[in-house]
């Protein structure tokens, strides 16, 4: 009985771990290239989960086919957020030459007031409420400010500022999704049957989620190591000044990695719902953000496939340790699995401070 449960949990842990790994790769990629910690990580996972849910429920698209759609949505979101909010803080080159005076702030205020007045007049014709008008005015004012300040020559912002920006993006996403879909916990049923292994039962959707994660990880590995574009991105990770000297467009690489990182994260949201197709709600991402940080550190912070590997290890620890801990008298084994996983994390970091897969020097 003991070994039956242990092997069952390890198999389940392996599958969970590969999904965890997939859900962390985007975080590692963005940190590796831009040195930005994406605190809003979980919110992007949530966007992926909703993508799978909506495509399945309203169009009947099987979640496995939602993956390319999610990647596309994620990359678009990534580009918008990069140019709209992140770039001014990490811009390595001072690419722009536009001079900005304080008058621009006044103009931005002007945009706001003008839009508000326009909306007031329009509200006679259309049924607009005041909150909606303010919302639109703020977005347009912000777009104007991005246009003015985004291209400005300037110094890099402090790292804490990027934390705040990604945190805000996460909160904004959550609230927007809540406005559209409400905070109800949702789910879908995509039944492909089950594989009975005797000691445990695996629904085929779970196996597919794990296989999908592995495929994406392998593709990413090949892209990084075998293609010019991938190598260009890696060169920025190694040494951004050196890469620039060699003719790599570092600005574009930044934009591309941020967008790809978000794309991967949104994709992982789809795979996650194949693993657990219920409990989909705007605030579901919080727990994953924390786990992704731990896994990223475990795998070697700047390495996306290290993150995948770290995810598998973490999944095995979390699920596998349950059976061992349940054999102890008293206590709550599930609560102790957390304790156990984090102690193991400390041990691994003690032995290999750079994480499991970080190459030396």
């Amino acid at each position: 009985m003991f070994f039956e449960q242990l092997s069952g949990n390890l198999v389940q842990g392996l599958i969970l771990g590969s999904v965890y790994g997939m859900a962390t790769m985007g975080l590692s990629l963005i940190f590796g290239v831009l040195q930005v910690v994406n605190v809003g990580h979980g919110a992007f996972i949530m966007v992926g989960a909703f993508t799978a849910l909506i495509l399945f429920q309203s169009l009947g698209v099987p979640p496995i086919l939602a993956i390319p759609v999610a990647l596309l949505i994620g990359m678009c979101l990534g580009m918008i957020f990069y140019y709209g909010a992140v770039k001014p803080l990490v811009s390595p080159s001072g690419a722009g030459i536009r001079k900005v005076g304080r008058r621009q702030l006044g103009k931005a205020a002007g945009v706001f007031v003008a839009v508000m007045i326009a909306m007031r007049i329009l509200s006679g014709v259309l049924d607009l409420n005041i909150a909606f008008s303010i919302f639109i005015a703020i977005i347009l004012m912000y777009a104007f400010l991005v246009y003015v300040y985004g291209g400005r020559r300037q110094e890099k912002g402090p790292e804490l500022a990027t934390l705040l920006v990604t945190f805000s993006l996460g909160v904004i996403l959550e609230e927007v999704v809540k406005q559209i879909f409400t905070s109800e916990a949702r789910g879908y049923n995509w039944d492909l049957g089950k594989l009975d292994l005797g000691f445990t039962v695996l629904p085929f959707t779970k196996i597919l989620a794990s296989g999908g994660s592995l495929t994406v990880a392998v593709l990413l590995y090949l892209w990084f190591n075998k293609t010019r574009a991938g190598m260009a991105m890696r060169s920025v990770v190694e040494d951004s000044v050196g890469a620039r000297v060699c003719g790599v467009n570092v600005d574009w690489q930044y934009a591309l990695s941020f967008s790809l990182g978000i794309g991967l994260t949104v994709t992982s949201g789809v795979l996650l719902t194949m693993f657990i197709p219920v409990g989909i709600n705007p605030y579901m991402g919080g727990g994953y953000t924390l786990k992704a940080f731990v896994i990223a550190v475990l795998g070697g912070l700047a390495s996306p496939y290290g993150a995948f590997f770290g995810g598998v290890v973490f999944g095995l620890l979390e699920n596998g340790s349950y059976t061992l801990l349940a054999a102890l008298p008293g206590g709550e084994p599930f609560a102790l699995t957390r304790f156990f996983s984090f102690v193991m994390l400390l041990v691994i970091l003690l032995i290999r401070p750079t994480g499991l897969l970080r190459r030396k020097g």
Binding site: T182, G187, N189, I276, V278, K291, N319, Y322, F334, A335
Partner: protein, 416 residues
Amino acid sequence: MKRKVLFLSVFLLAAAGMVLPALPCHASDGEILIGHPACLSGSYAKAGEQAVGGIQAILDWVNNTRGGIAVEGRKASLVYKYYDCESKKESVTSLLERLITSDKVHFTFAPYSSGLTLAGAPIAEKYGMIYMDHGGASDKIFQQGFEYVVQTIGPGSLYHAGTLEMVKAIDPSAKKVALAYADDEFARSVMKGAEERAAELGFEIVFNRTYPAKVTDLTPLLSDLKASNPDVIIGGGHFEDGQLLNRQLADLGIQPKLLSLIAAATLPAFGEALGDLAEGVMGPSHWEYGVTFSEKGAKKLGKMWIGPNQEEFVALFKKAVGKDMIPDYHAAEAGAAVLALVLAVEKADSLDPDDVREALGDLEFMSFYGGWNIDETGKQVGHSMVDVQWQKGQRVIVWPVAAQTGKPLYPKPDFK
């Protein structure tokens, strides 16, 4: 420079014009202010929306149908002041301080959930403010010696009393009970109650374990539970974890004769999310659309009746939230808490918290929500729960027999 100042002032004026109407205003003479740190975002956003809707619906009834509250020789109307507490403890405490000291509300309402209710209680106590607990079920809230906390939701320890009695009545051969609950304040108090009740009724607890509240995968726990081969599985916590528990029981092919989940299974979203897998799943509820409490029934029992009937409440609720949505028990219990306050204020003929608290202690009434009566600690003892079961995509009240809208489906059909 001049232009900058001009632009800036126009901007500030425009901004101020938008924001000003939303600033807090103190109560005028004929108004009674209720303050509420509501969970409108975060984990409890769904229950929070329901609670706010329920309170607004009853406020509407009190002010417009009933014609206000008679207190100290005048007719006062109720005014509701709430902020979003984001389902966070820190916000609950600071918003309560703000409601009490800056908005100068007369009475406070607790946020949703046992954990948040407990977090805010010391603030209300500090200022000697009545604190209407409508969504915090844990018995622990009433073991702290708080004097101003008054409960409307039934206590956690009674959640599964009816469920277990039902099993005993229908199938005396079912003996083995497994408990799998979230590790939080509310679920622990429910589990303790279920454990005691099961022992009284002669059941055998074959599995009794918790899982962390924010869990992603319950497989290890459920494989362990499967080995104990239970007839009855009861457990859950809040919303996402309840759906997860149901889903993964099905994934692992665990087939109990009865599955009862707290909180999650009583919401419409549960059936939508799980589809066929929800068939036969039960949940204890404080109130369901379709229960049969009426003014006539109250008269028969010799109890005082107040408030709208069920259909009126549902209509007022829909108007308050602006959506075609049927209220669930989170709305009903919050609304009933307002009714209790109305009766107590009139009985005390005062807005003084101590007088009103005394009146609440003596109060006993019935409304669309059912009975209401508290013991000396403020704990709800007059309200009884019902058990609902998902049958063909609908929630049916199956227990107690007197409240039934359908027969229980037992044993529950196997997961496919």
